[in-house]
Symmetry: D3
Subunit: 252 residues, 6 copies
């Protein structure tokens, strides 16, 4: 059995519910999910400011889980296609942590020469181009495209978003030369399978890729030791008890 912690760094319970409802469709029969919603931050992350706040919120959520959980998850999925705080979560987590964007990009590069990312909201375009560069995959990136609706709007009206997404995905293939298209975003979870028959190349659902990668990493590296360079204990103020405790007693 594999236990996966789903952290929604958006504070929208609707998105948490969407993730929780959709994830099992992509998972093994013996995979169990537990979902947590960030305690603070924007309802939907759609800016660099949102990513900054969510980096803290995601770490805070994981800290809460690590303190409270009676059974440790085998892997954690960071459920926002911007991977806010991913490296911080990896520093504190004793299990593999999967970033929705990173996992999707790494899967895509194994499925064809060039991939494109399709998401909601124009401000994400430069942010995701920079994220792909940080991952090291710029040479494989055909394009990042966005429909005008934000993820929140797509989640609120998925049916009304399909036509626009299909048109944009077709452009990723026809104009940008993508061999694979990632449908990126927690709020877009589950839409790829509804669009696949309108697109000639594999469409990757970022939640599906994350679930599969989490299951894979949980088996590949079941335990993650503390960072090699010992982190000094430090006091903090104004943080949740759980997060403050992590600063005070870092994993050694």
């Amino acid at each position: 059995m594999t236990r996966i912690l789903l952290i929604n760094p958006n504070t929208s319970k609707e998105v948490t519910n969407l993730l929780m409802r959709t994830a099992p469709r992509f998972a093994r029969a013996d995979t169990q999910f537990v979902a947590m919603t960030a305690a603070f931050g924007p309802r939907y992350i759609a800016s660099r400011l949102g990513v900054a706040v969510a980096s803290h919120a995601a770490a805070d959520t994981l800290a809460e889980y690590l303190r409270a959980a009676t059974m440790r998850a085998d892997a954690t999925i960071l459920g926002c296609f911007g991977d806010p705080g991913l490296v911080a979560l990896r520093e504190i987590a004793p299990m593999p942590v999967v970033g929705m964007a990173e996992a999707s990009v790494l899967a895509a590069t194994q499925l064809g020469p060039r991939f494109a990312i399709l998401t909601g909201g124009a401000p994400w375009i430069p942010m995701l181009e920079e994220l792909v560069a940080a991952i090291g995959m710029t040479a494989r990136l055909a394009a990042v495209r966005a429909v005008p609706q934000t993820g929140a709007q797509i989640a609120a009206d998925p049916d009304g978003s399909l036509a626009g997404l299909a048109t944009a995905a077709a452009r990723c293939v026809g104009e940008d030369g993508a061999d694979v298209v990632i449908l990126g975003g927690a709020a877009l979870a589950g839409l790829a399978e509804r669009l696949q028959d309108r697109v000639k190349v594999p469409l990757i659902d970022s939640l599906a890729a994350s679930v599969a990668m989490a299951e894979a990493l949980a088996r590949t590296a079941p335990a993650i030791p503390p960072p090699r360079a010992a982190i000094a204990p430090v006091d903090s103020v104004g943080l949740s008890d759980a997060l403050g405790e992590l600063f005070r007693t870092p994993r050694q």
Copy 2:
């Protein structure tokens, strides 16, 4: 159920047996393996020449499988830590193809800031440094190290190789600053778990990473359409019937 085709591009049945024997230990209960050994080529790949021949042999093996198989595999693993012919296999395969080196590297980058590769045989060092560069992960590479024995020698005497591998892995951590160490090579399959308690960071078994990635990609993208740019049919000479047929009637 997931069906995985294991292609051993080495022509050593012993390595095939090792892969076939070890893979299920890393796999889900409902994953089934079928293994095929390359019909021609070196017993063990340990040079650029070996990689060149194995690129053909691996493609030939997959072609045989595609023609003969009554049930299609859900994913293919290319069982040599040099990924010979990987892009060619992806061109012809209707299912995801996993390269042992690529899958290990991509897993490693998700498990810590820097990774090292440890394998057998000094000629692999520059070859693997170039492979990591081609994958796009040079910035994350701490070092490639090799023990003096070739993979074939390690496979023939795994017990006698453990001490040397443990020492080299410790150097990857202590001198090179690796947060994760990949034990790379088909012939080293199964050794990571025997060495893990002597190494402070996660040791990745390249077969384990490949099996988990194959299971993951099989779920993420169950079908792979033909290449976007149509490949022209072409006659050939001196090839197996199965491979010749692939040239004559490429997937469209």
Copy 3:
């Protein structure tokens, strides 16, 4: 006159006082400083977790300033040599925002072919190597070195830290080939001038570089318009009023 907002994303008032006390020594006579300390987070940032929390805290601090200030600062300095939340601050700030690390690196590259960074605490080494890569200056980086003490410990005992810093700086020059050495860290502000006569190449004080760059950018681009791609308003929970307001009414 130039008004500079100093944001200390560490929650240590001692560091804020150190910045406030030292900054004027590096500034023009007509430059005025106002300093704010982050309302929450670790006393001293020395980990990826610390950076994640401080990204939020720095943005929160700037939000408070933007709401409360009767006179707008001409530039903002983010007073931690890890630039936590820098891109987020730039998204929300109507004035130039200077990152202590970025400003120091960009100054250093103009003063000689190769630079090194010297700071406190080994965990910073890989973090700063990645930061230099993100800035685009890896080809110019001779080395990142760290003395064993954390920045907090150096700030608490600067006199006792000088010998170790001098030795390490000499290694940056003698072994790594640095033409310029950055003494990086809010807690190290003011130490470069005490060490300069023991080092053969220019020593850059990261606070001095930041103050000078802030004065420069304030003149080069006195006003910064909102991001080109309009950011959608979004509700939030659990944030300070000032930061919540920024999510609700992003600059347009």
Copy 4:
């Protein structure tokens, strides 16, 4: 006198004849050619699968030559603009080995700031973009363009292909900003001189560049010692005697 071995990794005798007929036009008076056609593989290489098979076939051909030749060639030209197996040939050859694509690209970069590649068949476009990246010259690449006909079709009807090639070459200059255009492909050998007066920038014939580079390298480094890291002898199956012998007794 310079003796050049021309290896045609395509199994098309027509292409071999074309190379053999055209090469002397680009060569010194005292350069002699001997040509060999691959013993197996596709008639014309136009896919990643073709490159994989040709990597083996090219190595096999060189092995045959090395065993049979009474007089050693001074240089070898790998006569396919995809350089199949180039690094493997360099591992086994005691003389310089020239790749048609690499030689053309390196010549082009010395003749102007940016170059374009023009070839036959759309599947080559991403393959050549990746090859240029592997060579290290992406920053100098203006574009890769392809006419719809494959190289085989161009070789069969060169006159009918000229107009399309001229139009595409003009686009490389006018739209892509190329200062030099490479006409790439064994099957296109000899066409550049027929097109040059229709194009404002230097047109490089990939065979001409290869012959000149082979003559140059034969003088620059007349002998190539074995690889620095000793390659272990290994048995093989199903290979030609000559190639099997190379595995059994690698150069030391």
Copy 5:
């Protein structure tokens, strides 16, 4: 007080006068300028040949200054947006040397995610793309655009150039996605402020950025020691006395 040496490597006194007239508008009240015009070379630099000659001329001018000046400047600005000879000037100068292009690019990257450069004369486009690559900022470059007029022509008729520059700047924003636009060129000094209200993003005047950066670096690193690797004295012929002296007695 800060003393800045303005070197105009163009031999046009009009441009020197323009720099001298405009620089104080961008400078602190207590900054004083002294300007020198190159003793030889083209009236206006607009080619790679011009850059080559100006590299010598700029070094020659600085050598003259260093020999003759009774008071040493605190910083030097190299007043051509191609930075001719910048690394040579830094080798010989005991004070910071600012390149107009480099300073503008480094300022721009601190003011927004992507920048564009707008200048006069199409031959500058590839030259500046290469310069940005050498600086390390290609990933941040949205585009380089040029109006048809050369800098000389713009300097001769600034009013008549404004419309074309405004149109091109708008394209940098609307088509290329620039968040900041650099108006690059000594001859364009002072035009940015006249165009700013027609452009939605910050327009950087390359002279303004240079003056501010020079003031900043003068404070950050008031003295620059000789190069770490001692340069051997060497005789020369045909150079000015001052420059010949620098070869004969390099800084040690």
Copy 6:
């Protein structure tokens, strides 16, 4: 017959004579050389300042040749292993121009996986590392090493330099892992063949590589048209008549 213009941008007649005496040894029987010495500049180039002056001097020398020559050379060799002014010479030359460093590096990369550069004088080390980066071959560079003597000193006492060069070349192979070693420098012309039997990998004489590459490019691209973007005529002062004429009437 091939006519090659050898430009010595050093003003040392001894080096010119050395080049003129040695080049024919590396050339075809029907290759003729004409050598010109720069009219001004340092006797020997060994600094960034030297490179800057030599950029002008090399262009000036070519301009003189272009005006005076009754028969046009088929190729030009820029005889300094720092390639001063190479891009400028290519802008004005109607024939291929070969840089000694670039030609050697491009030859080396075709002869083995990794190359090292060995030259005279420590200040060249960072300069050549930057040059290799600009060429695009950093990933292939094993090391740059320098013996303490400058090129001038080596040229004055070649016999006394051999032992030190042999030791350093052995380190390039044994410690740095170079498969090929370039002996770089006009003043080192002819020494590689004297050292080859002491080094296990191919030693490249930078003059030999340049001559062979010049012969090759002369055949590959016999004529080079003017730059695509028309360069505007411009007056100049203080230049030789020939160079001034090139500014006044650029090639169109």
